[in-house]
Amino acid sequence: MTGRPRRAVARVSLNAAALVVIVASLFPVYWMVNTSLLPASAVRSTTPHWWPDEFTLSNYQEALGDDSLVNALFNSMAVTGITLVVALAFAFLGAVAVSRYRFRTRTSFIVAILVIQMIPAEAMIVSVFRVLDGWYLLNTIVGLSFVYIAFVLPFTIWTLRGFVNGVPADLEEAAMIDGCSRSGAFWRITFPLLAPGLIATGVFAFIQAWNEFVFALVIMTRPESLTLPIWLRAFVQATKATDWAVVMAASTIMAVPVIVFFLIVQHRMTSGLVSGAVKG
């Protein structure tokens, strides 16, 4: 007899809990964008403005009018671009080696990759700083990119290895029987099937390089060589007392590319996994 009302209560409380999760997850992101679209006077009022009722883009104009932000944006894009391209190329070659060949040192290489992945960047700042200093690579885009490439490689090789494993070697062999060379079989059969894996891995490298904080803090110390996160941190310290609205505009500028890429990959990755079932 009590089954039906009890179930209704359970359903309502379940949806209420879901609503709490949605609000708690979304609110900080919404609040960042909302604040960035309000004039400083509205942000400093005694009652919060829940939506951008005094809509303005002046905070973005002010942030982007700051040469140091534009400079940091350029540095971040350069470092991220180099890291993305080089890490993807090197990781791809490495993943093929680990996945398609059996060689004596293979297991030790895989163990090394997993161990390296667990070495905290925070513990490496001192020695990476000194090594780069010795090669005159401090405060250079190339120097920071090299460090990022090395630190994203273990994960990118590991991830791509999974995707290469997912393409059956039988497909390549069939192509070879039909007259393809080994490399021809690889480029024509396996490579196109790896596209979702390359995109997912590439976005990982992008997000890592774009967000990275501690190496950039140690390596890029000159005002003209700051990357976006380091610039933003300094900007917050200098500005927060006076103008949270501009800080939120700058934060939005940094966060939006990451969020967009992340959402794109999420979609591509699931569709890639669904259609990844290869039919011989």
């Binding site: 379940l14 809990a17 879901a18 999760v21 949605i22 997850s25 979304l26 900080p28 992101v29 609040w31 400093r44 005694t46 090197f90 070659l93 093929v96 080696a97 060949y101 060689f103 895989i110 163990v111 997993l114 390296i116 667990m118 905290p120 925070e122 513990a123 490496m124 700042i125 001192v126 020695s127 990476v128 000194r130 090594v131 090395a150 630190f151 490689l153 090789i157 070697a169 390549e172 062999e173 039909d178 007259g179 967000n211 501690v214 803090l217 140690v218 996160p229 933003l232 941190r233 917050v236 927060k240 949270w244 800080v247 939120m248 934060s251 966060a255 969020i259 992340f262 959402l263 999420q266």
Partner: protein, 321 residues
């Protein structure tokens, strides 16, 4: 032959009519192929991780201060750096704080993450999609910007939390600083870390829950197992390995947390009282210029994290073979 294609049990491909014979020896006689493919990655790893790691260990046994940064030859002093670090009460205070913050954040993340995953399996399609999208957005938010936004929400003057507390309690909270007091500083830090970490745990657990076969659950239900018994006896065995891996990863990530703490300190914390181990390494070696001691703390942190991650590494290797 040291190199054979991964799954090549088949005999060498029989050359068809169109296939030129000279191709054969090249394919067979190229045992260096995997090494050649690995070389670019290996060079990067050796030069930018291996070599600094060796340097780090050497440096931790050297007197390495400001004089050495400006060119003086470093002197080997045995384990003096380790002795001075391990006898320094500040090191133990920092380590204790890091562990405490890590425990609170990890427990909160795991409990809430698993609860949300279970909730997602029971929701209707529309609500589940809405929850997924919200979690994705939180997951995509860079840690640094998330910290700054939370810093704004907890702002002393115009922050939302102080406004809300003033409305709810009737007392005046405006002007209350959340970051000056180390305890509430860490509470804010734990909220930021947990908020950012929950989506990964929730999605991974949800994916694992989807692997539990419905028939088995139905059969157990017919046999009279209640909700809790079904969860404990059927779902848990499916989840155990996923949860353990998630636990290890969360512990490691939360123990070495840097950007959130460092940025929160810039917004309003007292650095000396709120350092965690990562930020402490930075301040000892970069701000104070004692690279020898910084190196010793770094080596200790590396060993600590590698020991904790042993389980994760073993699980990954098992999956590989």
């Amino acid at each position: 032959m040291t190199t054979i294609p991964a799954k090549a049990s088949a005999p060498p491909a029989s050359p068809s009519a169109s296939r030129p014979e000279p191709e054969q020896p090249r394919r067979r006689g190229f045992p260096w192929a995997p090494l050649a493919l690995l070389t670019p990655a290996l060079i990067m790893l050796v030069v930018f991780i291996g070599w600094p790691l060796v340097q780090l260990v050497i440096m931790s046994f050297q007197e390495f201060g400001r004089a050495q940064i400006f060119g003086a030859a470093p002197e080997f002093i045995g384990i003096d750096n380790y002795v001075s670090v391990l006898t320094d009460p500040e090191f133990w205070a920092v380590l204790g704080r890091s562990v405490a913050l890590c425990v609170v954040s990890v427990v909160a993340t795991m409990l809430l993450g698993v609860a949300i995953a279970v909730m997602m399996t029971k929701l209707g399609a529309v609500m589940r999609t809405a929850v997924s999208i919200s979690l994705l957005l939180a997951w995509a938010m860079p840690a640094l910007t998330a910290t700054i936004v939370w810093g704004w929400i907890f702002d002393t003057q115009y922050g939302l939390v102080n406004w809300l507390l003033t409305q709810l309690t009737g007392e005046n909270w405006i002007g209350h600083s959340w970051l000056i007091d180390p305890t509430s500083f860490y509470a804010v830090a734990a909220i930021i870390i947990t908020w950012g970490a929950i989506p990964f745990v929730a999605f991974s657990t949800y994916a694992a829950l989807m692997q539990v076969p419905d028939e088995v659950l139905e059969a157990a239900s017919l046999d009279g197992a209640g909700g809790f018994a079904r969860f404990r006896l059927i779902v848990m065995p499916y989840l155990r390995s996923v949860l353990l891996v998630l636990l290890v990863l969360q512990i490691i990530w939360d123990l070495r947390v840097f950007a959130q703490i460092y940025a929160l300190q810039s917004i309003g914390g007292v650095r000396a009282e709120t350092n965690t181990i990562g930020v402490y390494i930075y301040s000892v070696s970069m701000a104070s210029g004692d690279l020898g001691a910084g190196g010793a703390i770094s080596v200790i942190l590396v060993i600590l994290l590698l020991v904790i991650s042993g389980y994760w590494i073993r699980t990954m290797l098992k999956e590989e073979s």
